[in-house]
Amino acid sequence: MTALGWLIMLLSVGTVTALLIWCIYMVLTIPDETKHIHGFEQEPPDTKTGDE
């Protein structure tokens, strides 16, 4: 592989890896995550539509 090939590969892989790490960091550190948890199938549809 040529030097330019290494550069392209490292830039491409580095960019997507950095973006993913930043996203994971943001998702894990945002404090109000619990606000968004809705519960586990609060009202399962099959039990609420008269099929049982």
Partner: protein
Amino acid sequence: MSDSKKESWNSRAGVILAVAGSAVGLGNFLRFPGQAAEYGGGAFMVAYFVAFILIGLPICWAEWTMGRFGGQAGFNSAPGIFNYITRRPAFKYLGVIGVLIPVIIYMYYVYIEAWCLGYAVNFLTGNMDFSTVEESSDFWGGFIGIGEDGSALGFGLQQVGFYMLLVFALNFFLIYRGISRGIELFCKYAMPTLVVLAFIILLRVLTLGTPDPSMPERNVSNGLGFMWNPIKNVVEVKDAETGKWVVDHETVDAEKLAAETSLAEADENIRVRHIGMIEQLFNPQLWLAAAGQIFFSLSVGFGVIITYSSYLAKDDDIVLSGLSATSANEFCEVALGGLITLPAAVTFLGVAGVAGMGTFGLGFNVLPMVFANMPLGELFGFLFFFLLFLAAVTSSLSMLQPGIAFLEEALKINRKQSVALLGLITTLGAGFVLYFSQDVKALDTMDFWVGTFLIFVLSTIQIIIFGWILGIEKGFELAHEGAAVRIPRVFKFIMKYVSPLFLLIIFSLWVAANVFGINLRTGETEYSAYVRDLFIEPNTVAWLSVCLIGAVAALFVFIIGQNPDYKKYQQEDQT
């Protein structure tokens, strides 16, 4: 409106993994490396990242925003959401495309998913001991029934029928369990497992070195070079009759290139050409390939994200979630797929053995032979195809949910009934694809007209609705409700003007090249095989495939016409 509104995601991580799972599929590990290598790694990556910024991210955010907005009104499928946002009758019918695409793709995707499971099982049971690519190709042909219609219906370990039943049952079992207990739960385990498997295989591939000392040019470094080198070195020979230069082969190895350059200097009928990045970027086909890869890879324009996001609450973040799911997909594609597939293949077969291979050729003919010849190949072959299987299941699950949501919403039936109805429709469709397996004609036809053509159409419709009907200001306001991060302001301009224009240009070029068969470099015209199959040399299976697509579309249009909720929104708006 449907009772399915009561369904919801269990956590932010869950929805991100589910959307990422939808996007991560065979395309990441098989299609992307092949495309990048064909168009010269560096140049392709420039076009790829441009397409990512100009159409991938904008359509992704537009879908997340419109989906959550429509979900607040109780709509979970593209017809209902388009109708609610636009209040224009025509758009609920255009929304049919957003249900048709995933349902039709599921019919043939589950067939390919069964190949992956079958290959994993056969590696584990030691049935994949190939010494040549021809042996591997013969196995594949027999396994999927490529020689004759109906020959794929066998149920032995080395026939696809058995695996198709298994994957069909698994998909419907998970989809029946619902959004959080089925899709989310499976993706929460499958996605991390998939990444761990990919890292194990990556480690194995990058430590292969030069397995055959008698062929020193077949090594990992040249495999990576074939994938990533921005300058392509091709050896061309002069055609004796026409006098034109014709590409003979590509060379990556430095010593071989030096030898061929010396040979070319001594022979006026041979020349070595170095194709630089700028020259490659002037090739319209490269831009088409890069934009197409972004579509397939991110699952934008599939009708999936809009349904998934409709189950979010009003204050759930969508900007960061959309970006996170997208970045997870990009990581799997570029950092894992880009370093595994081609380096492994070139290390055992050389550039000549790999160049020009399509997605299926690379994945199901070349790689099995590569694994068969690798130390601990049975184990790594199993792991690789099990990885592909997991990636395929997380994608196929996402293809079912839009259909489930649409049937629940439009027919006012519960999940059990909608699963049964969609099960019937997709069983007929998948059975059709399985039976008409000769030359994978049914699969190929459906993939072209739905899996490619209609995806361009739906993406264009979605970005126009977001930028011009909902309005860019309103769209951004909706996107930022509950957002953990903000979309850069420049994307207002991109999403309103650049993305639609870029899409229309790419779509026009695609139709010119792939429907009318115009060679974008030379201007020569030859109708594509798909057009010839329908109008010039009619093929029965191709016509039946198109009729099947039309029948499913007609059924969905009929169902929409019966739904009073859609009409109610139009009437409310008018008064």
